[in-house]
Structures are given as C-alpha cells and as structure tokens.
C-alpha cells in the first residue's frame, strides 16, 4: 500500500486549517456542507482564536499516477509553546507541507517549526497560500522561503485554499515528492503516541502512528515509558469521520480507546507496545513536558456569596483544574496558599500562550472565575553547600546567607520584523538585558533579529511591546537554552512593616528600584485610607529601596441617622463590613484583593 504521512506547518492565520479542509474536500472525504470552516479544530476556543491546540490525525485517499495513496494528515499545534508536541507529531510524519501566507511572508513560528521538521529529516513542500488576495506577493514570499529555508523559490506551490486553486497539484506533489514510510524494523508492535485527548464518553483517546508491527482491538497494550497496561477497547481511524476499525497496521495512523481515565496516564512521545510481546526498545525522543512559565490561579470572589463563598469557590476551582488536567497533562498544578488571595493553585505551563489557554479553558469549560497572578519563571538557586534548588515562587527563596548564585533561564529569541523597526527592537532587547547575536536579511523589507534574553524579561510585557513597536507585524519565537547566573534579587514589599510575601518578586538588581516604585505607587492607589497612616516599603536584602505612604483617614462618619434612616444606614454599614471581610488583613491593614492583582499586573 502507498502511504504518505505528513503534517502542515504554518503560522497562526496563514490558513492551515482552511487548507486542511480543502485537501479533505478535494479527496471527497468531506462534502461541501460538512466543510464548515476548519473541520479539524474541534474546540470552540481553537476556532475562536484561530489556533489548533491539539493534533488530530485524518486519513484520506487520493489517486495519483494511476495509484491509490493513503494520505495520513497529522495536525500539529500551531504555537511555540507546544514545541515538544509539535516535534512528536512531526516524528510521526515523513514529510511536511510548509504554508506561508502570500501577504504576510515567513513568520517566526513557521521558521521554528520548519527547523524542527528539517532536523527530524522530513521532506518539506513549500506552499504559498492566499494567492487570491489583492495584496499577495507570491514572488517576494518565494524569495523569502529560499532565503530562510534554502528551498528553491521555483519549487513553491501556489495555492488558494479559499478558492481551491492549486489544491490538486499539491495533493499530487504530496504523493510524488514525500517519501514512503520506512520499513518495519521488528515485527513487535511499536507505535508512537503523538497526541492524546480526553473525550467525555470514551475517556482518553490516544493518537498513534504505528512504526512496527500492528495493533488490534482487544490487545493488551503497554506504555513503554510509564509501564502502564491497558486493554484496547476501540481502534478508530478518521476519514475524517471517526470510523471503528479492527486493526491499525504498519505506518498507519489512528486512535486507541482503552478505558484510560486520565491524560496523566498517557505521555506524548511514549511508545505503545503489546503487553504479551513487548518490543525490546522504545522509539527514541521521549521527553517529559517542561514547564517554563508559572503563575497562580485563585478563585475570584467578586460576586461570590458572602460567608461560605470562599471554600466553595476553591472546590469549584479544584474540580475545574483536575478536569482540565485530564485534558491537558502538560500543565502542572499544586495547591498554593497566599496570605492575600487564600487558597489557589500554582500552575506551570509550557509557555505564555499555554497559560492563557488554560486560564480561558478553566473559565469557559470549568465555569469558574479565576484570578491570575503575574507569570514568573523558574530559578535555579545554587547553595553554598554545593547543592541546587529550583524555585518558581519568590517566597521559596532560601536565606540569602546560604545562596551562592541565582541562575535564571536564558532564551534564544528570534524576531522577524519590518526593517524599519530594527532600531527600536534592539533598544527594547538591550533594555531587557538582551545579548545581541545576529541580524539577518530576509527580504528588502524584513529582517531577522537574533538575541539572547532572560526568559523573565520575555514574560514581562515583552510580546506586547514587540507588537506595538512593529504595529503588529513583528513575530517572535523563543526557546530556553540554558540557566545562567546574574545579579538577581528578591524585592520584599512591606505594609506597615509587615512583609507581604504575595507581593514579593524576583528581579534584576539594576531594575529593582524602578520596579519597586511602580509597585508601591499602584499599591497606594488601591488601598483605602485607614484610621492610621500606612507605610509602604520595598526592600532588597534588608535595605529599603522605595517607600510610599497612605495618609490616615480623616473623616468617615454617617452624618445623619434619624428614625427613618436607621434600616438603610445599618444595611450600608453591613455592606461595608462584608466588603471588608473579603479583603485581606495584613497586620491591621485591610487590602482589597484587587490591590494584589493591580500590583501583580505587569502593565506599566
């Protein structure tokens, strides 16, 4: 049988999903009616944000040069945060279609994923999409593709996924140009897990690509990485409608249902083999997901019922997080107690977008309102005794006398931008402790800027700044490469002399004063006057580096209270009292929850 396994690499909005749908339609796998835009993205959220969060695998047939080809299209996540998942999905393929928008040109994430594919030895087919648009510049984009990827400009396939132009030639090219799957190396089953999803009815659905042997319904399987055992209850292939099959054979793609309750039991990148006849060796490349960005989620009490509300909110958040984790095992969570915000969770994410998506899904699918603190990175603390500890919460920082060095994650950053913005972007990167690496020519109008930047600086408002400098045209990609020591320090915030751990943060010594002043100014605006003056201080290593004060309240008294006023005035006071209950008491200072958030909010 002729099999071609491939995926599509594209920047967000460059038309990957539309192209995928068009390919399905052209092979008659999907009727026009069914091709509601973007069949492959099943979640509302994905559709709305125009990004694909979880991969699917679709099988269609195409006849080329008189032969029948089985085309397995493996969808990949479209964002930088899912690099590992992308790499696994790409490993399941022999080739990739590299889609670039004819009006936008090559973008940073496309480059990152194309490099991943090239590193995995995949054959690339460059495709220039949206050639129907008036602003399309296929020749210029083709030159960029040649410049960046070394793929010949004249090899680019011009298509319009919207009109269908160029789709058939593309299908033919996939059959002709992409290599067939490698032959089996053993007759024992080895299948790569490249994705897993949670389905309310079927439990965990595990997407696999079989490399060796074959898999049948009823087989008892073993996950070679985790050692877990499951009985296969259902095998499904997607044509693109889910179709039950008895067997998934060599080089084929499909999904397993095996009564698996949680995604935590399944690891993308793991190898599936048969329990009774296990393979000797797992497929290469399995890694644990690496969380790079951390933040806390707390239940938002904004309109909770007074009194018992608090605990119930936390329970709701716990349920939502646990449920979401079944769906997305790539974020971590642990119970966190903040003196300011009560009980919540500290969560770790693959990146910033991943964090945003998890928060949105918690709210949308879990029906909880969450309060999110500013993201932080993970620091490595080298101690005097030669050991090291990891912290992702400033509160966990060991006593300074024990610390030899604090190391922070450094990322390799690649920015694609209009040439005219280069100067401003260099200024931005330099102000963020960046190290200039290279400036590369992409086209007459666009360049690539390579920098090394501490991850902590990237997550602090960097992307927004990049977007505003380039008026939306700049894109970036980053990858953490190492941990490096720097003059890092912890800023402590004190309210009337009481340290408020929830407000402490890690920061480079050179920006400590400026950050402190900003925080104290915000805090002052958020805290109501009290019956006494409140001192707000920021300190580093015991030394006060900034201070503010909130003057004592001078007047707060109900002027009139006669017979007809009593009920209403009492209710007003009760409301004040309840409002206060929901605030956080630091010593004798009451701080509204919003104050913590305003302070933690990273906007300047």
């Amino acid at each position: 049988m002729n099999i071609r396994n491939f995926s599509i690499i594209a920047h967000i909005d460059h038309g990957k999903s539309t192209l995928a749908d068009r390919l399905l339609q052209e092979t008659n796998a999907l009727s026009k009616r069914e091709a509601r835009a973007q069949f492959l993205d099943s979640m509302d959220l994905e559709r709305e944000r125009g990004i694909t969060i979880k991969a699917s695998a679709v099988t269609v047939h195409h006849t080329c040069d008189g032969q029948d080809f089985e085309l397995n299209f493996i969808d990949t996540p479209g964002h930088v945060d899912f690099t590992y998942e992308v790499s696994r999905a790409l490993t399941a393929c022999e080739g990739a279609v590299l889609v670039v928008d004819a009006t936008q040109g090559v973008q940073a994430q496309t480059v990152a994923n194309a490099y991943l594919a090239a590193a995995g030895g995949l054959e690339l087919i460059p495709v220039i999409n949206k050639i129907d648009l008036p602003a399309a510049d296929p020749d210029g984009v083709a030159m960029e593709i040649e410049q960046v990827f070394g793929l010949r400009a004249e090899d680019c396939v011009l298509v319009s996924a919207k009109s269908g132009e160029g789709i058939l030639p593309l299908l033919d090219l996939i059959c002709r140009k992409l290599p067939p799957p490698r032959p089996a190396k053993t007759d024992k089953l080895r299948a790569l897990i490249f994705d897993a999803k949670y389905d309310d009815y079927r439990g965990v659905v595990v997407y696999i690509r079989v490399f060796d042997g074959s898999l049948k319904t009823g087989d008892r399987i073993r996950m070679m990485g985790t050692g877990r055992n499951f009985a296969v209850s259902e095998l499904t292939r997607y044509t693109p409608h889910p179709t039950r099959v008895k067997e998934i054979g060599w080089a084929q793609v499909g999904s397993i249902s095996a009564n698996i309750k949680s995604l935590a039991d399944v690891r993308v990148g793991d190898t599936v083999t048969l329990d009774i006849a296990p393979a000797d060796e797992a497929l290469a490349g399995y890694e644990e997901p690496k969380q790079m960005v951390f933040c806390d989620f707390y239940p938002s009490n904004a309109d909770a019922d007074v009194g018992s509300g608090r605990k119930a909110d936390f329970e709701a958040l716990r349920e939502a997080i646990e449920k979401l984790n079944i769906n997305d095992a790539s974020f971590t969570f642990e119970v966190q107690h903040s003196e300011a915000l009560g009980f919540g969770y500290r969560c770790g994410f693959l990146g910033l977008l991943h964090m945003d998506i998890v928060q949105e899904r918690l709210e949308r699918e879990g029906g909880v309102e969450v309060v999110q603190t500013a993201p932080t990175v993970k620091y490595m603390i080298d101690l005097n005794d030669g050991t090291s500890v990891e912290i992702h919460n400033p509160a966990e920082l060991p006593d300074p006398s024990q610390i030899k060095a604090i190391r922070e994650p450094i990322a390799k950053l690649e920015i694609m931008c209009p040439t005219e913005n280069i100067g401003d972007l260099i200024k931005l990167c330099d102000s963020r402790r960046g190290t200039f690496k290279a400036q590369r020519y992409l086209s007459d109008h666009r360049q690539i800027l390579d920098y090394e930047l501490p991850m902590a600086e990237i997550i602090y408002d960097f992307y927004d700044k990049l977007k505003s400098i380039t008026r939306g045209y700049g894109t970036m990609d980053y990858q953490v490469t190492e941990y490096r020591a720097d003059n890092l320090t912890k800023i402590n915030i004190m309210v009337n002399g009481e340290p408020v751990e929830a407000l402490s943060l890690m920061c480079h010594r050179s920006s400590a004063e400026a950050r402190s002043r900003l925080i104290l100014t915000k805090l002052r605006a958020q805290i109501d006057r009290h019956q006494f003056e409140i001192a707000l201080q920021a300190s580093v290593g015991g030394k006060i580096i900034a201070r503010e004060s909130i003057k004592a309240m001078r007047k707060n008294v109900t002027a009139k209270c006669y017979g007809g006023d009593i009920s209403r005035k009492r209710k007003l006071l009760e409301k004040q009292k309840e409002g206060k209950k929901r605030m956080k008491q630091i010593g004798s200072v009451t701080i509204p929850q919003e104050a913590f958030l305003a302070v933690l909010d990273q906007g300047d």
């Binding site: 019956q531 007047k555 109900t558 209270c561 017979g563 009760e574 004040q576 009292k577």
Partner: protein
C-alpha cells in the same frame, strides 16, 4: 376589629402579605401588610415617641431623599383627615405616656396655620401624651409667617427646627435649595415673638465648591441668630437623589475628604467656644436643649410613625409606611406598610451600638454588658471593642462606653464592626 392571619415572615425577616387563597374569588386580594401586622409582631413594645410625616414641600431640593413633593392637587385637607383616622386606630397599640412628638417632613408648615392647628390639636387629643412631652415641628423659613408661628406656639410646640442649610446663595444654588437666606433670621424672630422657646437651625457643610471660609461665614450667620440648637451635617449624597445623579455624571465634584474633615473640625471647635455642647455626631445645643425625640432614636427606643413613609420601631421590629400619599390615603385604617423587619436580639444589639455610640455620652456600661451577654456576634463585638479601645477610638469613661474625638470623625469604622 378582625384580626388578620399570622404574618408570613420570610427568611430575611421581611414580611410581605401574601395572597389569601382561602378568601375566595370574591374578596379583594390583600397584597400589602399594614402597620397592624407590624405592630402585632412587635408585641411588648412600649412606644415613647410619635413621629408624624407631612410629605408636602414648596420645592424639592436636590440632596433630599425624604418622601416629599410639591402638592399640586390640594390634598392637605385629605391628609389631615386621613391622619386623624390613623391616630385613632393606632391607639390600640400605644399605651403612653408618650414623651415626645415630632412633626417632620417634608415641610409641616406647608399645611398653613389652620390645618396645622387642627392637626396638632388632633394629635394632642387622641394620643396619650405626657404633660411634659417635647413637641417639635420642622419648618421651612419661607413658610413661617406670623399666623404659622402663632399656630405652632399656641398648639404647644416647644421646639421648631428650621432648615437653613447655608446662607450663601452660591451654595444654596449648588443644593438647588430655594429660599432667601434672610428668611431664616426673620422666621426665627417670628417664632421667638410667638413664644416658641427652642429653635434649631439645620446647616450643611462640605457642599461642592465650598471653602473653609464659606463655612466660617455660614456658621457666623447662624450664630448671630443665636439658635438654641444646631445640627450641622456633612453633605450626604443619598442614592436616587438628583444630587447623587449629578455626582455620578461628574456634574458636581465631591469635596475632598481632607477638606470635609477640616470643615467638621472647624464646626466642632467653633461651637465649643460659643458654649454649644456637642451631644451627637452632628448635633449641638445650649445646655438643656437636646432634642429629646432624636435622643430617643439613638437610645434605640420604641416609637410610632404616622403618615406616608414614616418609619416605626417597636421591640426589635422596624417597619416603614408606604411612601406614596395616594396609597396611604386610600388604605386604612392602619397605614399600609412596605417593609417589616424583625431584627432579633443580636440584630437589635447591633443597632443599639450603631445608634448609642453616635451620642457623646455613649452607652452606659451596664447596658453595654447587657448587650454583650448573648448572641452570635457578642464575642466578635467584645473583641472589636477591645481593639478600638486600644487604638484610641473608643474609651470607657464615667461609666459609659463612648467614641473618642478621633473615633467620632471616623465613627463608621467602629460602628460597622459592632453592628
């Protein structure tokens, strides 16, 4: 008189009379509770005061949230007649002797001399009023003429309270207050001549756009008139008043807290120098001229309110008559009531603190310990009192618990913790 069925009390303690399903289709549905239902709940109350609400005004001021309006239908006569019915029927619950009678509004003097005489004599004739009772009537300076002053004095009114608010035309305008500043002194003169022994002036400070200088001259003008009693209020932006709407829309700007505090501190100092005794957060008097009726509110005593929108309190039950003249005129004999609240011991104790601590004298310590003896909130109240005492906002002195001077300026912090 036929007893109504037991009042269904909702969880919140607010009773709304439900449709009487037993009554059959012919009888009209009873949709409102009346003062009778409320007073039945308040059994055991001993009413010490009477409040009568007269809802008429010559002009509706923008800061005012009392139920009052400009009467365009000449309903003053009907009002007095209806009031007489209410007075008589309420007797069932009022044993007396009543220590105070307070006729407020609105503007009671809008009734004119004749109706005023009739109303006051009906009150005196019907209610069981003690011989040394305090009789107070509120008045708008523009409505006081010789006939009205005589009517008041001859009806036994011992105390007249005049709404002066300010003597500064610019500030009166800011309040949309419609009177000539000179009318205040004129009215006081007429009342004195007629033989009213106690006169009160109401003043408002912290009016948008006011300075400490404005306030000083207002106070001077007031003191020139030599009132026996002064009420000075920091302007309150009551919800649903035109003033509050203006504030929300940004058409007026609230005086900064520090400026308001300065004006309050100024009046406290000035009146002390002039021999006026502050006996409540916003009230001053020459010795022996406290308003006994208002003190009764702050002691959380029982009183009965007559007329539309009038509030009453008996034995931990609060109710308010419907604030609509037409409804009140139609229904009877008891006043229709819009809200009944049964506070319970704990809730009543909270009100005792909220009200009692408004007075300089504070609350007698034996009363305090009685209030803290039981109830769910007692423990936290004990703790709060200890904390505020340590912070210098409360003090135990002369056998009373009271707010300190500093505590008085930020009383709501203390009171909200103790309710």
């Amino acid at each position: 008189m036929a007893r109504l069925p037991t009042i269904p009390l909702t969880v919140a303690g607010v009773a709304k009379h439900e449709l009487d399903s037993q009554a059959g289709p012919a009888s009209p549905p009873v949709t409102e509770s009346t003062a009778f239902d409320a007073a039945s709940l308040a059994q055991g109350a001993s009413y010490r005061g009477a409040y009568v609400h007269v809802p008429f005004c010559r002009h509706k001021c923008h800061y005012c949230d009392f139920y009052s309006f400009v009467d365009t239908e000449n309903r003053a006569q009907s009002y007095v007649e209806r009031l007489e019915v209410e007075l008589k029927t309420s007797l069932e619950f009022i044993a007396g002797p009543l220590e105070t009678v307070f006729v407020g509004g609105g503007t009671p003097t809008m009734l004119g001399a004749d109706l005023l005489r009739r109303m006051l004599s009906s009150i005196r004739a019907v209610l069981p009023i003690g011989s040394d009772a305090e009789w107070s009537v509120e008045a708008n300076p523009e409505t006081v003429d010789e006939a009205v002053a005589d009517a008041l004095a001859q009806s036994g009114v011992r105390r007249v309270s005049l709404g002066a608010q300010s003597f500064n035309p610019r500030l009166l305008k800011a309040l949309e207050r419609d009177h000539d500043p000179a009318s205040v002194a004129r009215a006081v003169g007429l009342l004195r001549r007629a033989g009213v022994p106690q006169v009160n002036l109401d003043l408002i400070f912290a009016i948008p756009g006011s300075t400490i200088g404005d306030w000083e001259s207002d106070l001077c003008r007031a003191l020139e008139i030599a009132p026996d009693h002064l009420s000075a209020y920091g302007l309150v932006y009551e919800p649903n008043t035109p003033l509050a709407v203006k504030l929300r829309k940004g058409a007026v700007t609230r005086l900064p807290e520090d400026d308001e505090a300065e004006q309050y501190e100024f009046v406290v100092e000035t009146l002390a120098k002039c021999g006026y005794e502050r006996y409540e957060i916003s009230n001053w008097s020459l010795p022996g001229n406290h308003c006994r009726h208002n003190v009764l509110y702050w002691e959380n005593a029982d009183w009965w309110g007559f007329g539309p929108s009038a509030a009453s309190h008996g034995n931990g039950v609060r109710w308010r008559n419907i604030p609509r003249l037409a409804t009140w005129l139609e229904r009877g004999p008891f006043a229709p009531v819009e809200e009944i609240e049964s506070l319970g011991m704990d809730g009543s104790a909270g009100e005792c603190f909220m009200l009692g601590l408004r007075m300089m004298a504070g609350i007698p310590l034996e009363r305090v310990s009685q209030l803290l003896r039981s109830g769910k909130r007692a423990r936290s109240r004990v703790q709060s009192i200890a904390n505020f005492t340590a912070d210098g906002l409360l003090i135990e002195q002369d056998g009373h618990l009271r707010l300190t001077d500093r505590g008085l300026t930020i009383a709501d912090i203390v009171l909200s913790a103790l309710i």
